[in-house]
Symmetry: C2
Subunit: 524 residues, 2 copies
């Protein structure tokens, strides 16, 4: 029995039980679940008879597509019809050809003016205003390590304070975070690119407004000497910073005792920090996708993009990266770049990656894998468009390198690997005070000192991992919310979390083990 299914009218992103049309110019729709051959659907008032079986996540032609005509999804070209495709036909690798077309394009050909919210109507949140003007969403004490050799001592200091109960007296202190890593020695030093990236990352964390205080802990004889590491640091004047090495302190016990003493001494002062009302324009939202599925690119990523658009309209900043995952769709970003300089910076990083990955025989050309194809992704463009969707629709105002400070307001791209902890670490180092993480498979992630909001791309995942997921973007696929409505909910939650509301990953205790600076140096 073939019951016609009525599509929801929202033309930009119509959701129903069966088919999602992502953009009014699209000539394909995406099946949310398997649609049997012969099913009759009603799309925007017209009838669509599915000639083939359309597996979930796969595409169906909304109208006749002539041979060589562009196939459009997200309003973008994802490939070209390899032959005439009839209305209602399954659209996939068997009838879509991928060929190069001028993708790098000119900067700014797709610019649009940002519809800024009037200053007096802009959103606010409750944040910790630091004396250098930056705003924290949390009030942590950080222990940074120059090298793996001081990791255990750093963890011992943090756990001794956390377990002593002393923090109960200081409710405005969110905790002591020991950020440890595996590098800092056995690498090239000054002048080595990877070494400089590690130092830049540590500097970014030291500078982060979510840290009221920083203790830098070293061993003593490491390549990453604390004196060199902290040269040129200019932190907020109200941020207490101190450092020590295990060797100078005379061993582990003395180091831990001294670290605990120094931090306990600071607690009364740090506890005096108070949240005040600050404009949302102070926020830098980091966006990340991990454990993607067929829904990532059609529910959670576009919804997060809508939230980013909102934040930017309120004067704020949103940053995303994962250069390896936007490869093939970079023209969509350069065409939105506000300057040729910004477009060129992005293309320069793309070129860098093309070379970089050859060092171990990997490839940045993330053509759909057999698994991707089984899930309905036809071309590299379609795949990368799903990742780009979280960048929303505003202009690209800046491109920064990994862990560089993010200073622009608007949409920023940071060059990072797609690997979640490395990507997030770079964006937090850049200054992001809130992170939103979309996941289809169910990623477990936190990134102290920045709270991480988890967005499930589909309802079954949300139901299965309720303890870990903050938002169910499956509501879009379920036809309960439009992308815009979902984006508004995410935006509201971002402000609430920025104001102190605990995320699921904070409640679970994530964030101490996911500090993973991008390792680029050769281990010697």
């Amino acid at each position: 029995m073939n019951t016609p299914i009525e599509l929801i009218a929202n033309p930009r992103l119509a959701a129903d039980m069966g088919l999602l049309v992502l953009h009014p110019e699209d000539n394909v729709g995406t099946a949310l679940g398997a649609i049997r051959a012969g099913t009759s659907l009603s799309v925007n008032g017209g009838e669509l008879l599915c000639a083939d079986e359309i597996p979930g996540g796969h595409k169906v032609a909304l109208r006749t597509i002539e041979a060589d005509e562009p196939v459009r999804k997200y309003g973008q070209i994802i490939g070209f019809a390899g032959r005439l495709i009839s209305k209602g036909e399954h659209v996939h690798v068997h009838n879509v050809a991928y060929r190069e077309f001028d993708r790098a394009g000119q900067a700014g050909t797709a610019l649009r003016e940002t519809d800024f919210v009037p200053e007096d109507q802009r959103a606010t949140f409750q944040g910790y205003r630091r004396s250098n003007g930056s705003v924290g969403t949390r009030n942590y004490i950080g222990i940074l390590t120059s090298v793996n050799c001081s990791a255990t001592a750093a963890k011992l200091i943090a756990s001794r304070i956390e377990n002593s109960g002393v923090l109960d007296q200081y409710p405005n202190v969110d905790g002591v975070v020991a950020l440890t890593h595996s590098s800092g020695c056995g690498t090239g030093g000054d002048g080595n690119y990877g070494f400089e990236v590690l130092r830049r990352t540590l500097h970014g964390y030291a500078n982060h407004p979510n840290f009221a205080s920083i203790l830098v802990l070293g061993l003593g004889c490491e390549v990453n000497q604390i004196a060199g590491l902290t040269t040129g640091w200019s932190l907020s004047p109200d941020k207490s910073i101190s450092s020590m090495t295990i060797q100078a302190q005379g061993g582990t016990k003395a180091t831990v005792a001294e670290g605990v003493r120094r931090i306990e001494e600071l607690l009364p002062e740090i506890n005096k920090s108070q949240r005040t009302t600050v404009p949302a324009s102070e926020l830098i939202l980091a966006m990340e996708c991990g454990g993607s599925d067929a829904f990532s690119g059609v529910t959670a990523n576009p919804a997060l993009g809508a939230a980013a658009d909102l934040l930017i309209r309120h004067g704020g900043t949103a940053v995303f990266g994962e250069t390896t995952e936007i490869y093939g769709a970079e023209h969509l970003l350069t065409s939105r770049a506000e300057s040729q300089y910004t477009a060129d910076k992005l293309m320069e990083r793309i070129r860098w990656w093309e070379q970089h990955v050859t060092q171990d025989g990997s490839s940045i050309n993330n053509n759909p894998s057999p698994g991707n194809k089984a899930g309905g992704l036809t071309t590299i463009l379609e795949k990368s468009l799903g990742a780009v969707a979280k960048g929303g629709t505003t202009n690209l105002v800046d491109v920064v390198e990994y862990a560089e400070p993010i200073t622009a307001h608007g949409l920023v791209f940071m060059d990072t690997p797609g690997y979640d902890p490395v990507n997030a670490t770079g964006m937090v180092a850049g200054g992001a005070q809130v992170l939103a993480f979309t996941t289809g498979r169910g990623s477990a992630f936190g990134c102290k000192p920045t709270p991480s909001i988890k967005l499930a791309t589909n309802t079954p995942l949300y139901e299965r991992m309720r303890d870990d997921m903050d938002v169910n973007c499956g509501a879009v696929a379920d036809g309960q919310l439009t992308i815009e409505e979902m984006g508004q909910q995410i935006f509201d939650l971002i402000l609430a979390v920025a104001s102190g509301q605990e995320t699921k990953s904070e409640e679970l205790g994530y964030g101490d083990n996911e500090f993973v600076p991008w390792q680029l140096s050769t281990v010697l």
Copy 2:
């Protein structure tokens, strides 16, 4: 006032307050502290008048050295006299030239028969004999992680059990160790060399006899799928192994609860393990130097080499690596190689490194740095000889790649970086049940499940970091013990630690944060 100083008679390694002669064929001695110009020393009954001031760690000519004559230390050529050097003259870069000579040499030109201790007189220790015949020195429960994304859940399981007090009922269980790392996804998969090295490392830990039980914890969607990771594993039949993923369990809380439940269920059985008397030939001693100083190569490393010689004479195995730090002295190892195959394997790895380090502009050619030179090291050979010294004097029976199982008895070389946690992780993965770590600057290190013994190269360090150091090899420089006596003490301690005696680093709580598999994959 120039008081003649009498050298201790031990011809191989004579120590006194002023000068150390490391080998009877040496034509230079090493000043342990500054010796003023005009000081008269008595060396082996003859008089040595120091013509120059000799800084501590620097060399003095024991007799006239003709122009172009080899300069010998450790009985080895470290360079050639650039001009005639008079007896009593300072020997350093101003009068020593380094030139290539045939170093790669023939395999086996310096072989000597091992003076094995008769079977019935061989040493024993108290170890955990596993049903596959392997022997543990500790009785831990291990949680291995396939990917960084399961790190927090793994730590939560371990800390919940450790903090619950339940282990108090099970005195034969040494604890629960969560070994987390930063990789496992965002890399190439099957066929990628770095990915295979990670899997090999995890396999080695799973197989380690110091683990009575293994829980493999994953996220679910990672590149390093547990099914692929554990393919072909053949662990000891008495080792319980189980695995799970956070995604299949339905989130973090469910995963932690299930992990705690599974481990608690195993405790009564694992607690039944008993130490029994086993031969020292079952031991694999890993040797590592880190935070080296001018004394490393003349006190702790040769003393550790003497201990390794003893262990090997008792039928055991000693392994060392740090390919980047023996570079330039590889001919000393190939000339001791028991087969051309073994010699070729070492040279093949050396050639691999020469290429590998070019990828970020680093160099394996660790010529003495300005700091090294100020400390008295004249040539790359002299520097690398100090690292090779911990290999003792027995024949080289095998060369293995990073984290490969160590199966030979005798002296084995493992190709590893010099970076301490990466080096140690490889050797523990290879099966080492005890590690001895020499340090001049004061490294803080542990490598669960294997105990780490810390050997200070000098007395001031030992005094300053007594809480962290197990042995004071400064006694050699102080003239209190010969290298052989020091080596015997280390050997005795190795047996005691293998039998359960706690090391300083175990007492302090090291070993959970120093698991650092060699990262060779490009982060994508």
